[in-house]
């Protein structure tokens, strides 16, 4: 590791943002430290701190420099890191585990990804074949199994409204990693399931995108008009929250179509349960914790 991978970097994103990179590399302990720091920062409600954006291995704060000098903010953040840093894994997070149907190797993303082979690392294959090969899987099917075998933690929200960055809750040696496209696509279907770096995402709306395309989710994660009850009841246009646990469950075309019909009828609801997530318990026993969480979800 080089110094940039282990030391926290505090930097200024122009006059209105402070960017804090806890590590250049992603890991769950680093993410939990980011979570611990941003939660404490929110509690402290420092005047001039306008917005707090926790992310994977870093976080960002929008500051009003007319009320709080960005350098003074950095000093506050360093103090909080000193206070929280060593024991962030001891926090527990009140969260939800959500069942998210997903069709992998679906026809819709396949059609789009074939249009953009010239922007891809492997112009002659598909994104799934490429992902399987560079992650050492013998078959694409085995790779697909691994993608859906264990739940994911939402470690960042954004890009566009409601998009969850999901980090699979497995030890590092079992984590999938793929590059983003060499040049971003100008087209991505709505609800595409993509993968970039060590993160899975669902694209809330159609648009540009640089992630490998692996599948498609039948249920929306963004509902601008709050038509569906999951959105209307929570008075939110986005479904996921930072810290949610997502269990991507493989579905076939028949179940995919069935979910789509429920969405069209306005009756679709996600199945989810509330639970306490303990990072330290998870890190001590990943598979046991995952099995227990799935038990809570599916009974």
């Amino acid at each position: 590791m080089t110094a940039t991978e282990t030391e926290t970097r505090y930097d200024h994103g122009g006059d209105e943002f402070v960017y804090v990179e806890l590590s250049a590399a992603m890991s769950l302990p680093v993410h939990f430290t980011s979570l611990g720091i941003t939660r404490r920062l929110a509690e402290e409600a420092i005047p001039g701190v306008e917005e707090i954006c926790p992310s994977n291995a870093s976080y960002m704060v929008r500051v009003d420099p007319d009320r709080l000098h960005p350098r003074d903010l950095v000093r506050e953040l360093q103090r909080i890191e000193d206070e929280v840093g060593g024991h962030a894994e001891d926090l527990t997070v009140a969260t939800r585990i959500v069942d998210v149907p997903i069709m992998l190797n679906d026809p819709w993303t396949h059609e789009v990804l074939m249009k953009f082979r010239d922007r891809h690392q492997d112009p002659n294959g598909t994104d799934l074949d490429y992902g399987a090969r560079i992650n050492g899987y013998d078959t694409t099917e085995a790779f697909i199994d691994a993608l859906a075998a264990s739940p994911y933690l939402v470690t960042m929200m954004g890009f566009v409204p409601g998009l969850p960055w999901c980090f699979q809750l497995v030890p590092r040696e079992r984590q999938v990693e793929v590059p983003k496209y060499v040049r971003p696509r100008t087209e991505t279907p709505e609800r595409a399931f993509g993968f970039g770096g060590a993160f899975a995402v669902i694209y809330p709306v159609k648009g540009a995108g640089g992630y490998q395309l692996f599948g498609s989710a039948p249920a929306p994660i963004f509902d601008g008009e709050q038509r569906l009850p999951d959105f209307a009841e929570n008075d939110s246009v986005v479904f996921f929250r930072h810290g949610d646990v997502i269990n991507y469950r493989r579905v076939d075309q028949e179940e995919y179509d069935d979910v789509r019909a429920q969405v069209d009828a306005g009756t679709w609801r996600y199945s989810y349960k509330e639970l306490e997530f303990s990072p330290s318990r998870f890190l001590a026993d990943p598979d046991g914790t995952n099995a227990a969480m799935k038990e809570v979800l599916y009974g």
């Binding site: 994103g13 590590s23 993160f199």
Partner: protein, 323 residues
């Protein structure tokens, strides 16, 4: 009591100061790209500071007013007409019911603004009237205006009055080479020293891919420092572990086409960023168009704060003088 859109121009949207407070779930701020022109327009017509106005690009809209009101055209240098008679810009003008506002050919800049006494009355969406067309929310039905749309005029007028004028010395000029201040940092260590120097030495040309989401430029090739990529980033040298992007940050996917993210941009992602344009200088970018040149002038944090103070101080002085 409305504005009837006879011709929408190229892409005219309702904008205000923006949708702030939801960045962490992926809402970019949206809002007027040229904040100075927007704020001065509201001050000229006597509106409360956050009233919604119209932002056009390249081609102005043709608008019919169905009530007497007061308007002001600011921003890009473009001739504006009421019922065929040229009207002064950067000045409030009374229009009567049935009058039609139209525009001639853009002389310089890119985005004209139309402020109307009372503001444009569209529903608040997550606290703002700004249009965010990428996902179709806010503004007028979440989209750019079309012929036949009827916009309601609001009640945000404090003191509507014709004949308020911005001093000629305060009217921004839009040179064909814009200078914007850049605070280098974030993932600038990913670029070679040569490339970073080249970035600020180059006169960048605005490509056709320049809109409210971001501006893409051409002009030089930049190189990344080779490294073993950290876990989570992905193997491309332009990749970093996905993180938040400051509004105004500059990324260089592939090393050939720097992108400056603007008010409708994505809030995060996994491409290395080399720095951030000082917030008030996004006004200048907003008034550049395809083919124009842009130069990035390096400042440190103190320099960035000074540019900000100067520009916002001037706006405060202008607003007090107009009210």
């Amino acid at each position: 009591m409305t504005i009837r859109v006879q011709d929408p121009g190229l892409e005219t949207t309702v904008q205000d100061t923006g949708r702030l407070g939801y960045y962490s779930i992926g809402f970019p701020p949206s809002g007027a790209l040229d904040s100075f022109a927007y704020h001065v327009g509201n001050a000229l017509v006597g509106n409360e500071p956050g009233a919604a106005a119209l932002e056009a690009v390249y081609l102005g809209p043709t608008l019919e007013f169905t009530q007497d009101t007061v308007i002001a055209v600011t921003g890009a240098d473009i001739p504006a007409f009421v019922d065929g008679e040229e009207i002064p810009t950067w000045e409030s003008v009374a229009v009567s019911s049935g009058s039609v506002l139209s525009f001639g050919q853009l002389r310089s800049g890119a985005r004209p603004y139309v402020a109307v006494a009372g503001g444009i009355d569209v529903p608040l969406y997550y606290g703002s009237r700004s249009t965010y067309t990428l996902v179709g929310i806010g503004g007028f039905e979440g989209r750019a205006l079309r012929a036949g749309d009827e916009l309601a005029i609001g009640s945000d007028a404090r003191d509507p009055k014709a004949g308020r004028r911005l001093d000629a010395g305060d009217v921004p000029v839009h040179p064909s080479t814009a200078e914007v201040h850049l605070l280098v940092g974030l993932h600038s260590y990913r670029l070679t020293d040569d490339s970073l120097a080249r970035f600020t030495d180059t006169e960048w040309k605005v490509t056709p891919d320049a809109n409210r989401v971001g501006y893409r430029f051409r002009g030089a090739e930049l190189e990344f420092v080779p490294r073993e990529q950290p876990f989570g980033a992905g193997s491309d040298p332009a990749n970093v572990t996905d993180c938040g992007y400051p509004v105004g940050s500059v990324q260089v996917p592939g090393g050939v086409e720097p992108i400056v993210l603007l008010q409708d941009a994505v809030t995060g992602g996994g491409y290395a960023t080399l720095g951030t344009v000082v917030s008030v200088d996004r006004d200048r970018l907003a008034q550049t168009k395809t083919g124009d040149k842009t130069r990035f002038v390096r400042v440190d944090l103190d320099g960035a704060l000074e540019v900000r103070r100067d520009r916002l101080g001037a706006l405060d002085r202008i607003r007090s003088a107009l009210t």
